[in-house]
Amino acid sequence: MNGSTDPLKTTHLFFGPQHPGVTGNMSVEMWFDGDEITRAITHVGYLHRGFEKLMERRLWIQNFPLVCRICVPESDINEECYALAVEKLDGIEVPERARWIRTLVLELARLGVNLMSFGGQAGTIGLGTGAMWGITFRDFVLDLFEELSGGRIYHVYVQPGGVRRDLPEGFKKSVLSVLDKIGERLPELDRLTLNNAVFKQRTVGVGIVKPEWIDEMGLVGPVARGSGSRRDVRKDAPYEAYGELDFEVVTEDGCDIYSRALVRRREIDLSMNLIRQILDLMPGGPIAVPLPNLTEWRIPPGEIYTRVESSRGEYGYYVVSDGSLRPRRIHVRGPSYVHAVTLLERMLVGANIADVSNIMVSLTTCPPEIER
């Protein structure tokens, strides 16, 4: 039956483009026989804001408050990729302290996203309390971002040349107290999710990502690491201060939704550990280098690809400069392109219709990075 779209034997359904779980505005067109999906096609286009084209019309500095909007839950990776690219093209040396503050910001962001998506995984199978708690814990992290950057969601903080402001007074204390608070309450969330019969029933053995698909499709992040891969840009090609931090790549080999949820749960612990390390090792000094006149800032001609590890996997920016005031071309490469199109379409075949959003959330597909 697989692949069949026979109208006499299958039912045809559009799933979305509302929010199924927390994966944003996209839809999946499905055919199913009984409860079993026979074919699935991903449709995107509901969120298209033309970021890549917009960037070609903006000054180099004007793009830095724009790129964060490509990813709502984890804006900082976009700022980071863009800043890295501009700095490398223009030969800017970022001060040591700025590199450490950036690493702190990236880990805080990862912590927030993983709390939300780990809780979200429970939400998709009807365990609403888990979802609420995940969001709540993330809000504690957002409070930190508000204190640091003045914004909760769009931080507009990691800028080419460094970061925009130094850590506010008492920030280390604030961070540690939030980490303590979250750490203290995580066992409660674990009891609701990982140690919950319903959660296990719905996730163990469901949504299998075969290890051979990892290289075949180019899977990254927790999706790959949930199937035994050790792929992590933080370790494979360390950027900012990651090379100086002590950590092991989190990996599980269950290949199913439970395994990916477990990776995210362990990533939460890892992020909290890394944040503590960063706060201890944080050097002093300036937080940015002065930039030239922002409205006359030309970047030497050249092209570059920069990548960082987002909460969903490798995230990259390809930036081309023709030496003018604006970028010639910027291409944003998010992991969801593969996860939500190639992988999802393959995984859904044979899956139960009730597991669609469950599977999508386990891939943390993010439509904005598919349609830049």
Binding site: R58, L59, I61, Q62, N63, P65, L66, R69, L127, T129, T136, D139, D143, E146, E147, L148, S149, G150, G151, Y154, V156, G162, R164, R165, D166, P168, E188, R191, L192, N195, N196, A197, V198, K200, Q201, V204, G205, G254, Y258, P286, I287, A288, P290, L291, P292, N293, L294, T295, E296
Partner: protein, 593 residues
């Protein structure tokens, strides 16, 4: 993955949360204030804002437009416009705050604003009253590290003080092309300088041309409103820099030095302009100009470029006026003189040197020519009335400077005292220093009251000149070894009429300084004796200056005047502007005749 019995029981433990305090707050009954750095609604300190439009330019969403505000008038250094923010477009990135050249713009930590009027969402912060205007918290500019709102100047290489006092060589060494590009590239193109410049030069445009390495375009832009950029590039009083938006949080752009750079780049300015390759069709009219100072040269150039036959009469053997003769070599080297005069000659200006015109000549000239432009300047040093000014060894600084002290033919004396605080005083002091004298400057008011350029004052101090402010001169006495300059110390009292504070004697104690020579530098005055009574009786003359209207017209048929002989700032660029205005007015009056 094995299922355990606890997996069935443990989820129910979540109920324990029900007995604990909620993490959420009952909004809107209770709300959390935004953090100290929160990027909330805009505030603007209207008094600090200069309307440079930097916020409008940096806004990626076109949320900011510069608009007229009721009480704000365009004045020097202030466009009179203020930002209006449209919250239908704003994304609260706060780039506008970080680039605000005066730091007037900030964000409050307010984030909630319910209104049923959609039009209210576009408002003028600071002008339209809002609940968050007095908010103490919110995102503020911090320019100390980012330097987005103002950066330091690319330092001009200068000769070291102990080196430069050995000769009259130019103090300033000049920018390299890289330095010039970096300095010119700091311009934010706000254009506030254009309105401050008496000649309204195309400053943002030529700075951009210099930043892009197109120096010939820059030179062409100079000549649009200033035919003496070589001179202005060295000695301009730079009104433009005093209003530069970059000067509030950083340092003003070195507009004068960049003009110098572009002029120095070329061997010949007339080649760049190609003035001789494009002769203009003569319009059959002719104009006589009296004086070859900046005003006269400026009028001559623009009139010639408009097709007039222009004759310039100069009583001395060379042109350039007081600016060229009295400003010492170390500030204005004579090397640039020929380069400039070459432009005027090739443009077709006819010079008559050693041709002093007076009395009847003027009557004849005003009949022979379609118009006369009087730009004779100030030729006389003002008199000073304290006992002892007639003594041998007491001289007028102005005449000293006019007689080329740098050629070494003048003996300045071993110990020199200069009375005054203007540029002539400083020039005299620094020239004497170069001639090997120990120099003291005595000035009645405070250093900050000195009319001389701040940079000149600082350089004089660096060169070891003894600056003595708040000294009231009483008399000069002759002694066996030279002169004794007697002065009293002064206190400054505020002027109830609102003028600058006045110096009054602090006590009855008299102090003396033994010197060989005293130079008086207390200003220059005009000598209008060359005007025949038929003309001078009809002119409106106040305080020795010929009064003119906004077209430099004296009110006497066909006679225009400009430069130092008319009231004004008394600097080169004002004279150039006068000349240009007169040229336009003469052309206009000939056209409508």
């Amino acid at each position: 993955m094995t299922m355990k019995f606890t997996d069935i029981v443990s989820p129910f433990l979540a109920w324990s949360r029900a007995a604990k305090k909620a993490d959420t707050i009952p909004y809107p009954k209770k709300s959390n204030p935004g953090s100290d750095r929160y990027r909330g609604f805009h505030r603007n300190d209207l008094d600090k804002c200069i309307g440079c439009g930097r916020c409008e330019e940096i806004c990626q969403n076109l949320a900011i437009s510069m608009v007229e505000v009721k009480d704000s008038q365009p004045i020097k250094g202030d466009s009179g416009l203020r930002p209006s923010v449209d919250y239908g477009r704003c994304c609260w990135c706060a780039l506008c705050v970080d680039v605000c050249s005066t730091g007037s713009l900030s964000l409050s930590n307010s984030y909630s604003w319910p209104t049923d009027n959609a039009d209210a969402c576009a408002f003028i912060p600071g002008s339209d009253e809002k609940a968050w205007d007095d908010s103490k918290k919110g995102y503020r500019q911090d320019n100390s590290i980012l330097q987005w709102a103002g950066s330091p100047r690319v330092e001009m290489p200068v000769a070291e003080p102990d080196e430069r006092i050995k000769s009259f060589e130019e103090v300033v060494r000049g920018y390299s092309p890289e330095q010039a590009a970096a300095e010119a590239g700091r311009c934010i193109q706000c254009g506030l300088c254009v309105t401050a410049c008496p000649a309204n030069m195309h400053i943002p445009e030529y700075l951009r041309a210099i930043a892009n390495g197109d120096y010939s375009h820059a030179v062409k832009l100079f000549f649009d409103n200033n035919p003496l950029p070589e001179m202005c590039g060295k000695v301009c009083t730079r009104e433009c820099e005093s209003v530069c938006a970059m000067g509030y949080q950083g340092e003003a752009i070195a507009i004068r030095w960049l003009k110098r750079f572009a002029c120095e780049w070329f061997e010949s300015l007339s080649d760049v302009l190609a003035v001789d390759e494009k002769p203009l069709e003569p319009n059959g009219r002719s104009v006589a100009i009296i004086g070859t100072g900046p005003a006269g040269l400026s009028a001559a150039y623009y009139l010639t470029r408009m097709g007039f036959e222009t004759h310039v009469f100069e009583k001395d053997g060379e042109g350039g006026g007081v600016a060229q003769s009295a400003i010492p070599e170390y500030r204005l080297p004579s090397g640039g003189y020929e380069k400039q005069m070459d432009v005027f000659r090739k443009a077709g200006v006819k010079f008559h040197y050693n041709a002093e015109v007076c009395c009847d000549d003027i009557l004849k000239i005003s009949d022979d020519y379609d118009a006369v432009f009087i730009a004779a300047g100030l030729q006389r040093s003002s008199e000073f009335t304290i006992p002892g000014v007639d003594l041998q060894g007491v001289e007028h600084a102005f005449y000293f400077l006019m007689n080329h002290p740098e050629d070494g033919s003048i003996e300045a004396g071993r110990r020199v005292l200069v009375v005054g605080g203007g540029n002539v005083a400083i020039d005299t002091a620094r020239s004497c220093k170069r001639l090997g004298a120990e120099v003291v400057i005595s000035y009645r008011r405070r250093i900050e009251d000195m009319p001389a350029d701040d940079e000149e004052i600082q350089e004089a101090v660096d060169e070891g000149i003894d600056l003595r402010p708040q000294n009231i001169p009483i008399r000069i006495e002759e002694t066996d070894s030279g002169l004794l300059y007697i002065y009293a110390e002064a206190l400054m009292i505020d002027d109830p009429a609102g003028g600058r504070p006045k110096p009054v004697r602090k006590d009855d104690i008299e102090h003396g300084i033994e010197v060989d020579k005293v130079f008086l530098a207390i200003g220059q005055s005009s000598d209008l004796s060359f005007l025949p009574d038929e003309i001078s009786d009809n002119l409106n003359i106040k305080w020795g200056r010929i009064q003119v209207d906004e077209h430099q017209y004296t009110g006497v048929k066909n006679i225009y005047a400009g430069g130092d002989i008319t009231p004004g700032a008394g600097d080169v660029i004002t004279a150039i502007a006068d000349g240009m205005r007169a040229a336009k007015a003469i052309a206009e009056s000939c056209r409508t005749e």
